[in-house]
Symmetry: D2
Subunit: 336 residues, 4 copies
């Protein structure tokens, strides 16, 4: 087990725009700790009000991810546990925008109407790591307000397998553009391995985002993200799961939004039953009364919902994935 | 303005099963404080594991509400503000259940499939007001766990107007079965008046529920709910809104779930713009980054999502509805 | 059994705007033949390009229906069969329009966005009964084209029961604003009776409409509609069904659209199994390969889909509803 | 221009399971006529009641397509026109099935519930090309009925571009598993080219299917499909379009089903306006009254709806795509 942190800083043409279909940028091993530099979803090209995303960005060069990393010994049927130790903004600003026909409160290429798009506009936020805030500044008036800095990784996933390569804007069972604030430092995400080497990649940091990412874009930042990986052999994982000190969570990604809710809750009920010995209906009941269901995004090709239950409500649960979360947290802590 | 609390305790055949289409049970005035006794969603008929709801309840006698109350001087185009001072369970137990083809993790009469229903089962919870907990007890194993007692009102609304009478199980723009944990003590709900006298009614208390009310049923309780009402003249309200000391919120009710999200956020963006002078795109941006979006229900005829933003992020906002929340909170406090 | 046709021609303030909650305008008996005059969905107020619906119409006075008719001996648990003998336009014009935030290709009050509405515009069609055409005339250019005159009834239903009264714009299991071209002359519609007397009402004639009624409005006409009614005792009907000489059909009404599809097909599979003795999976297979699924509307509060299977593919089926369609067709024929 | 038909008969390990990410199996030129042999969606492995698909098939080896064909001179921004001259079943049988948690009338991996799957069952159909029928045979009773033989191609598309490779089970803007009966002999499908060479592939023949493909599986057959291709330079196509002698059509693929409807109709309205000089609202109105909207599938990862309008209702339209349909039909006719 390596005690040195592996540092990966991509150069521009190394970024990936799909999960799957790419050669690895590096090989890592179970137990490794990585520091990965990620670019923002616009490739760093939107820096001010005049940089309209639809003009400065070019499809498909949106939402670059760093990776993929080939994880030694990861095989289909295994699970890759990724513990997020820290997510550090690497610039003192972040950016958000409206984008034509993208977002929850506009017609889109899917929810297609005859209406013209909303105005495209850019908001630049100051990121103050010391104060722990991001500063919103209205464009049409003088209002300025500080919002809590709550860095998260919008996009993390593995190769989808089945010969597929999926655009990094898509969230699905392989992970991808989950866009949930639950992917913050301290969280361990479990991803089902679908091909030899797993092919982990990540990017799309947000200084923060509201639940649902209504306008389609968070406060987008470049990051230095430190993470620890572990391969859990012989344990498959169907949909992404997240574990924190407080809770276990399942992520669903689908349209319509209720299907994302259903997937996440179906998975959490099954997981809860597994962890606790409750029968499925008892687990369903417990999750129904004690569960939380934070919405991730309502703008991406699949919407995301997280189903969560606090560990304190589970009967002395068997440690999830053999205690991987605690193990990785300890491992990562040595690298602070 | 009355300083006496009006107490209303319905007898069985006084319960209403629709919003609209009913004669009022009492007249109240702006500024009145009421204590309203409510029955649980099963009419109190489900008291143990053998009381299967589909057998002991009979349609349409589900989800009884207490009322309607005729509010003097409330006219279409006004808003009725209802502050929830307290929601007290009146029994030391609550009950939940699965119900055939109802709930988020089963096919339903709408999401119709050829599969047989899940097993119908009842869970009885102990409600311990002193300890502030409800006790979950598994039916198929020994697991027992205490969950926080967080009483809420599942159903509150006014007559929908337009000659309509809507089943109390339905949430829509008139309120109704919103089933959101945000309707707890301390909250003020704003409902658009659609007919002379508003015709306020409420019921369906929950000792608690998870977000989405996955199994279709919360921890159902009878309550004594104390509330204060105020008519805000000449201010219309399109969708239900909620105000607490912390936040302003809009409620959307629709299918699919993303439409509930859209309605709530469209309304909150407009409200935020109104309260703060931000233009709509600036308000959209602020809500996108600072907003919360707790899911209410994913089981009722319309699903519900709440869009919320904390007041601290708004620029010295004009008090919503002329300060009704603060005014009612003070008024109600005198009745503790 | 009456051999005289009952003629009902409403005066203005007799129109109903809900199913349920109204006193009957007349009593009829099983076996009666009625000629019912219906007004168009705008109450006849939109007659030219300057009559913008949002200006000349006032909520809730949209989509008037003629009735309700109290059908003697119709009780909850029975089915009301209504055979449409003829649907005659009573004027030589029809009208369509865009309406702000209503229709399939615009954001709406449910699919809420921040975009302004599409332009409101009126199209007046000439109805030529002799030639059997309706004449489309472009408003922004010279294009004129004749479309087949295919009159249909947009709205037909019974009182929903359960103390409810539903706006006539809503389609649901009680019928209502189904907006499907299948409701043309020659069709028999089966509606489950939910309260004493059934309380049949109808209106909203269309000279024709495309599948889905994309812009939200058909070619709206006033009609003289001749129909024959029969009460089928002791046979319940859950969702509206339609029978023609060619096919049996089930109607689903819900959102999202796939749930309308599911309801209709779930019902048709069950009905097919009943009529033929096929087991449910065999019926599912047969409907899957031989079925048609014409979309009704994708604009109303619930969307509608019809599931249809041609009788020729069913194994010498037991006559549906005891042969009501054939019986009513013969009865009605005597009244031509 | 070649006057010889190019015949392509894949050997087993040549089949593709994605659009994109594959080397071409052959190069063809604009104006070529191809005869392509396709295998059924089960790879020919389901041949009788005992061959349960979930047992004899292995993911991701489902829905094989023949190709991809590299089309010379096809570049991003061009359109590939593919005329289907004939679709010949190559065996005298076809097969359908239920598949666990797949189909419209069951919960699925997306519409996830706690219910067990429906029974998995296989139906074998006789295909009688001479009589032009496929013979349905019930499994649980004696019912046998002949349905019209209406061969179609379920899956046809190009590489999606953007470095993506999409599973052949998915329909989207690149084509793919559209599963619409409109893709029959005589139709020309237009596909937007997204990468050098277009990379056309096809498969998944159906002897017939009902609208929506309710059970998730048509009457699956292997085919010899003859098609003619033409590259239309400099004309982009966003969503698949279909042209027949009778009609022009746009295909939408999305969830929920109303978004597939919206995409198809948004596209057809724009296309109609382009072809005829009508302004967009006039085109919207015309499509709303004259349009048809046959549902393709309600079971695949994206649902499909086709929007169609008959050419006779369009004002002497400019020939679509410069008359490609007529040109290819003539070309193909020489190869009968």
């Amino acid at each position: 087990m390596s005690m040195d942190k592996i540092v990966y800083r991509p150069v521009r043409d190394e970024f990936a725009y799909t999960f799957g279909g790419r050669m690895p940028v590096a090989h890592v091993r179970s137990g490794d700790v990585l520091q990965v530099f990620t670019e923002d979803c616009f490739g760093g090209l939107v820096r001010g009000p005049a940089d309209l995303p639809s003009q400065v960005c070019r499809m498909p060069y949106l939402n670059p991810v760093s990776g993929p990393f080939f994880v030694e010994d990861a095989e289909p049927g295994d699970t890759l546990a990724v513990h997020l130790l820290s997510i550090e903004p690497t610039r003192n600003w972040g950016v958000s925008a409206t984008f034509p026909h993208f977002g929850a409160l506009t017609s889109t290429s899917q929810t297609a109407t005859l209406q013209p798009p909303l105005q495209e506009r850019v908001w630049v936020y100051e990121v103050d790591k010391t104060a722990g805030v991001v500063r919103y500044r209205a464009t049409g008036s003088d209002h300025v307000v500080d919002l809590p800095l709550e860095p998260m990784i919008g996009t993390i996933g593995v190769a989808p397998g089945g010969f597929e390569a999926r655009c990094t804007i898509v969230p699905d069972s392989h992970g991808g553009n989950l866009d949930t604030p639950q992917l913050r430092a301290g969280a361990t995400v479990y991803l089902g391995v679908r091909m030899h080497g797993a092919m982990l990649a990540l990017g799309d940091g947000h200084a923060r985002q509201g639940e649902g990412e209504a306008c389609g874009v968070g406060v987008e930042i470049a990051t230095a993200t430190t993470l620890a990986v572990e391969v859990i052999k012989g344990v498959p994982t169907l949909w992404p799961r997240i574990e924190t000190d407080r809770a276990v969570m399942s992520v669903g990604a689908a349209r319509p939004l209720e299907d994302a809710y259903r997937i996440a809750h179906r998975d959490l009920v099954g997981w809860t039953a597994c962890l606790t010995g409750l029968d499925e209906l008892d687990a369903y009941q417990l999750v129904s009364q004690a569960g939380r269901a934070p919405i991730g995004n309502v703008c991406d090709p699949n919407y995301t919902v997280v189903a969560a239950i606090d560990k304190q409500f589970l009967p002395s649960p068997a440690a999830a994935y053999g205690g991987a979360h605690d193990r990785l947290r300890l491992l990562a802590a040595r690298h602070r």
